[in-house]
């Protein structure tokens, strides 16, 4: 195993790889766009209009970011509450992903608000009739709690042992609070859409929307943990036993079945089968979302296919993309009228930059603190050409059989 060049500056490890150069470039590009956006408003950076006042930053960065960060709370729930201790190996990684997710979500939200110098208003001017008010408070509190929870890992290395002891002592309280708030605001993100009943395409609107968002954040959580561990495996060579990952994702799979049943129940009670097979853009998008994001993943995860690594990874990616697709549908497709909106370059640059920033911080932290498998990670060098050749060979061999 070859490792990448690693610089030690003031005792911190900085690994330099070509990919990270590109990511840093993207972050710098984003920084420039952000300055432009904050100084000139929306006109040069986004394609937002009165018809689609919420664009990519809300639908992708915020809605999907929060959903993806669901891995933190769903793993914490299983590990520290329901005592699935064998899943504990993924807990720290999931916690970190959640924290980064939330910080990036807050950054995305900040960029999306018009009078950004007023961001603190809801702390004093309480619009308690709004679901967004609940989301705002929960996200703020939860990010604080995640930071303190994560502080436990930081204090292992920095600061005094004494502080670490205190953090460990209040940890159970933090875990309980840290499980109440994400559940509240994952559901309230769905609740945001309740008021849009007259604006949304009927297939996506339901009184159960808060519950749908909560459930989907739970199963995207475990799927995301699977995706993340597989990515961390290629980069850091750290592997988590396959059967643990299968069991973990199957917990999500069960929730997914309930989700599907509730969706079908909704179709009956609100008499919407007509819309499903209408053949319009919306109904096709809905069918695609249900088929590829829910039905096929369920079939994969509860069949022997899940025992193979590719099977599990297919499930995980389909689920992750399926939930992202659902969030985009709720924001765009369901309110589609003339379809004038497509994200502008600026919106893409900022979204890419935020993700790159997240990846960079993730890499720095796992290399300097005990996170993946409770030890410090070192990125291994992979010979990409060789890897791709091997992959193609493996696929060809399988087909021959």
């Amino acid at each position: 195993m070859k490792a990448y060049k690693c610089f030690r500056i003031l005792g911190w490890d900085f690994t330099i790889t070509p990919t990270r150069f590109v990511l840093t470039g993207l972050v710098l590009l984003m920084a420039a766009t952000v300055v432009l956006r904050l100084l000139t408003g929306f006109q040069y950076v986004t394609n937002l209009t009165d018809e689609t006042p919420w664009g990519m930053w809300i639908a992708f960065d915020v809605m999907c970011g929060v959903a993806l960060a669901g891995g933190g709370y769903s793993t914490a729930l299983l590990v520290s509450m329901f005592r699935y201790e064998k899943y504990a190996v993924v807990a720290r990684g999931a916690l970190l992903t959640s924290l980064l997710g939330y910080i990036l979500v807050m950054a995305g939200l900040f960029l999306d608000i018009g009078q950004w110098f007023n961001f603190w208003r809801p702390f004093v001017s309480w619009g308690y009739t709004s679901v967004l008010f609940e989301v705002f408070w929960c996200v703020s509190i939860y990010t604080t709690i995640l930071s303190i929870e994560f502080f436990e890992i930081i204090t292992e290395r920095v600061l005094t042992k004494q502080l670490h002891r205190y953090i460990v002592r209040i940890l159970p309280v933090l875990v309980v609070i840290g499980l109440v708030f994400p559940v509240m605001h994952q559901s309230s993100l769905g609740g945001l859409f309740l008021i849009m009943k007259e604006r949304m395409f009927p297939l996506w609107w339901s009184e159960f929307l808060p519950l749908y968002f909560l459930m989907s954040s739970f199963f995207i959580g475990s799927a995301m943990v699977a995706v993340e561990t597989s990515l961390a495996k290629t980069a850091y060579g750290h592997e988590i036993p396959h059967h643990i990952m299968v069991e973990l994702t199957r917990v999500g799979g069960r929730i997914m079945i309930i989700y599907l049943l509730m969706k079908i129940y909704d179709l009956f009670t609100m008499d919407q089968w007509g819309y499903v097979f209408q053949g319009s853009l919306q109904s096709n998008m809905y069918c695609a979302e249900m088929l590829f994001g829910i039905i096929i993943p369920i079939m994969i995860i509860f069949s022997p296919l899940a025992r193979s690594k590719t099977g599990l990874l297919t499930y995980a990616w389909l689920t992750v993309l399926g939930v992202i697709f659902n969030r985009l549908n709720c924001v765009f497709t369901s309110m589609y009228e003339s379809g004038a909106y497509f994200p502008g370059i600026g919106e893409f640059i900022v979204s890419m930059g935020l993700i790159s920033l997240g990846v960079l911080i993730y890499c720095f932290l796992v290399e300097n603190f005990n996170i993946i498998g409770n030890e410090r990670a070192v990125q291994i060098k992979i010979d990409k050409d060789k890897d791709i050749k091997n992959l193609i060979w493996a696929l060809l061999k399988r087909k021959k059989r």
Binding site: T49, F117, R121, K197
Partner: protein, 251 residues
Amino acid sequence: MAVLVDITKCIGCESCSVACKLYNELDFKSKPRNGADELDDNRWTVIQQHTTRKERIRFVKKQCLHCKEPACASACFSKAIQKDEKTGAVVYYPDLCVGCRYCLVACPYAIPKYQWDKQFPQVAKCQMCESRLEHGDAPACVSACPTGALTSGSRDELLAKAHQIIASDSRYVNHIYGEHEVGGAEWLYISDVPFEELGFKQVSDTPVTQYTKNYLSKVPGMAAAWALFLAGLTYYNHRCDKNKKSDDDKK
């Protein structure tokens, strides 16, 4: 304060939209952002021309309806939109606005618009000339209307008047748009052509704020129950560990 719009009397002269721009100091030169007869941040009211199925032309004044249960005000998380108790106007306070645009997506009629080309954009919508209402005057557009298509007064009186007009003249459609739509509005419309033909959105009578209210009223209880359950579970787990430890010690 409410306004009754009699669509049969409107000749589409646009006096109302000019009065609106003058009174609210909106930009006369701005290019229409969403089409010439659509609302935008400099057009708080517009006149839309419709040709009915019987080839007749009707003019419909469009502006904020000032709902009785305004979705925009309920959606605002910093109370930047509030319904004035005294006048009934749904008023926007830019100082409190964060700029999240939830009001734009929450409004069932898609009325609020945004200043997309400003450095620090604000929401733009009809304020029902709230400062005029406070002094007992009618909104600028109503005062400017030369044909009597717009009348202002208390909502109950205007409703009674509208019912009387409909009952006495068989040409009118037996429906007052704004009486029950999403919980009712301060702006009421009567017409001799079915409202569907005039571009009026068909909405249910349930206020959309009802769904949010139902949901939010359940949240504190659910959250408390969930927190209690988790705390109990933590305690239970803690006891299990303790018992296990003492058992191990005995061995």
